[in-house]
Subunit: 336 residues, 2 copies
């Protein structure tokens, strides 16, 4: 299994660290010889080595902020056109309007018969149906565990552990940044103050729009709808209210009633219809989602046989999201 | 895949209900024709039909309290000796001293080259190493998802979704009955009163020893140690304190400090050593296990890459435990 990586940010570094530690384990367990043969990053440079890139050396250069380019690959070369690559890890960036540049990278890779693992929500939320068809037509796999709850098992849990059970509804705390801000606000902080601290700690970006307006949670709800229920809702059809609308009065009332306000993304199946939304909700402390504090994410699944089931775990982080890529790669090895 | 079932109590009925609904789905998804060809129950009777037993008819008889015996199979016949059976669902009963009669049924089935799915904790906690070796020697699978957290994915989560991650420690609320009693006690009920209500509701048995003395949780800790860490601790080497020792003062102090008392089963790996115990602990409300109320079970896993991860779900129930058998059967179909 020869891997190419596009985008060498935090996620790819986390993935490479894990892969470096687990290469021997993979070969023992699956009899699969796994190599990273090409990497490409708009800022850091490009390498192609059909014999396998030395991951330790690469990580050292990346961690020291050094350029990595050698003459083996130019900015103009596409990993999708390198025959020896079997699987492309796509970890660049995207938006919720076009999904690009990630969308184009994924499309090219699938069209050229490469398996794809991505952590980019934009292309999956916006173009799931097309990308899924492309993967099927080209007999390759497209996996994106990291798009929801980073490495915390979500899709693998549903596919592997809940196979044969019927999912009726899903509710989740899908955005760690807004949950962190809400936790601070319930302790008395103002929205502006809590956001400031979240930005200082690196939880929120300089432009926090996607987090505080609920767009990030909405993207994840769209992906869940596609993947779990097979329904393409369209982002614009998911009613979305962010946490920037919450007033001091609402917080005080919730506190007085012993409730916690949480930004909840939810999907409910009725017949063939999916009703989905993202909105702040004042939750009773009996409600399991109410007790999820800080940047933690959680997803509660209601099923026909098991009733309510919840998974709680990290929603971001280098190794955490790197592990999502690693587990998707393992899954592709197992199934190919 | 021809199935034989020993023991036709609640768990088997739950399994049969799910199987009846999902037979077509299995054949579409896995191309596997699944039939129940023999059932055997010490009180209800025995049937053998190599063409497949009509599950609906069987369930009706079982639900109406009717005897099911026909002349096809006698009490003396062993399902393990029927050649056409590929997989035996063992759902009789056992204790934590010998693990019998479940232990003997499982041993016979494995020795005769049958896959086994069991929900009995006794034989797995006491004889894991021997049974596992028997399964390997006979090239069959032994699965027991239902022994811990009933159908809530535990072993399948660890095997399928956390593959390649390294588990450092496990803590859990592994016994719903004692957690229910503790929840009632924290609301002011006495131990005796809370136990009485638990017995009325069917959560606790007439003899509540295994639950309130922590023996049930200890058995699950032993199974986790075997399965996750490959270490045979021996039940007697797991320090165990039950909830029957908790004084009113301890409850009052915990309440005053804003804590909840929970019966926690825990395992920590240090080098090659596993330190394991079962004991009531006063947990801060920041501790995710603290907020698990009622009969719900939960397991918190700490791993090298993902940090802390928690799964919360049912720990008992007809369909819930029936689903654990169903998911083990699916797993065997997928891997055989």
């Amino acid at each position: 299994m020869n891997i190419g990586i596009i985008g060498l940010g935090t996620v790819s570094r986390g993935f490479l660290e894990i892969l470096e530690q687990k290469t021997d384990w993979i070969s023992q367990k699956f009899g699969s010889d796994i190599k990273v043969v090409a990497v490409k990053d708009i800022a850091r440079g490009n390498i192609y080595n059909p014999k396998g890139i030395n991951i330790n050396e690469l990580l050292n250069k990346l961690n020291n902020g050094e350029k990595i380019s050698d003459t083996s690959l130019t900015d103009g070369d596409s990993l999708s056109e390198i025959d020896s690559i079997d699987l492309i890890v796509e970890a660049t960036y995207s938006d919720y309007t076009t999904g690009d540049p990630a969308y184009t990278f994924i499309k090219d890779a699938l069209t050229n018969g490469k398996h794809v693992v991505t952590t980019n929500k934009g292309p999956v939320a916006l173009h799931y149906t097309e990308l899924n068809k492309l993967a099927n037509d080209n007999k390759v796999m497209l996996r994106y565990e990291g798009t929801v709850l980073s490495g915390t098992p979500t899709f693998s849990l549903i596919e592997e552990c809940l196979a044969g059970d019927d999912i009726v509804s899903i509710r989740g705390i899908l955005n760690g940044t807004s949950n962190y801000i809400l936790s601070k606000m319930s302790q008395g902080d103002s929205f502006e103050n809590a956001l400031g601290v979240a930005q200082e700690k690196g939880y929120a970006e300089a432009d926090p729009t996607n987090d505080v307006k609920g767009y990030d949670a909405r993207g994840k709800v769209a992906i869940l709808s596609h993947k779990v229920f097979g329904v393409d809702l369209g982002l614009d059809n998911i009613p979305t209210v962010g946490i920037d609308t919450i007033s001091k009065e609402e917080l005080d009332t919730a506190k007085k009633e012993g409730k916690n306000i949480r930004l909840v993304g939810s999907l409910t199946k009725t017949g063939k219809t999916i009703e989905a939304r993202v909105q702040p909700e004042a939750l009773d402390t009996e409600d399991a989602l109410s007790n999820i504090g800080g940047v933690t994410n959680a997803i509660e699944v209601s099923t026909a046989y098991l009733g309510k089931l919840m998974v709680t775990g990290p929603g971001a982080g280098k190794l955490e999201t790197g592990y999502s890529v690693f587990s998707d790669v393992l899954s592709i090895i197992k199934n190919s």
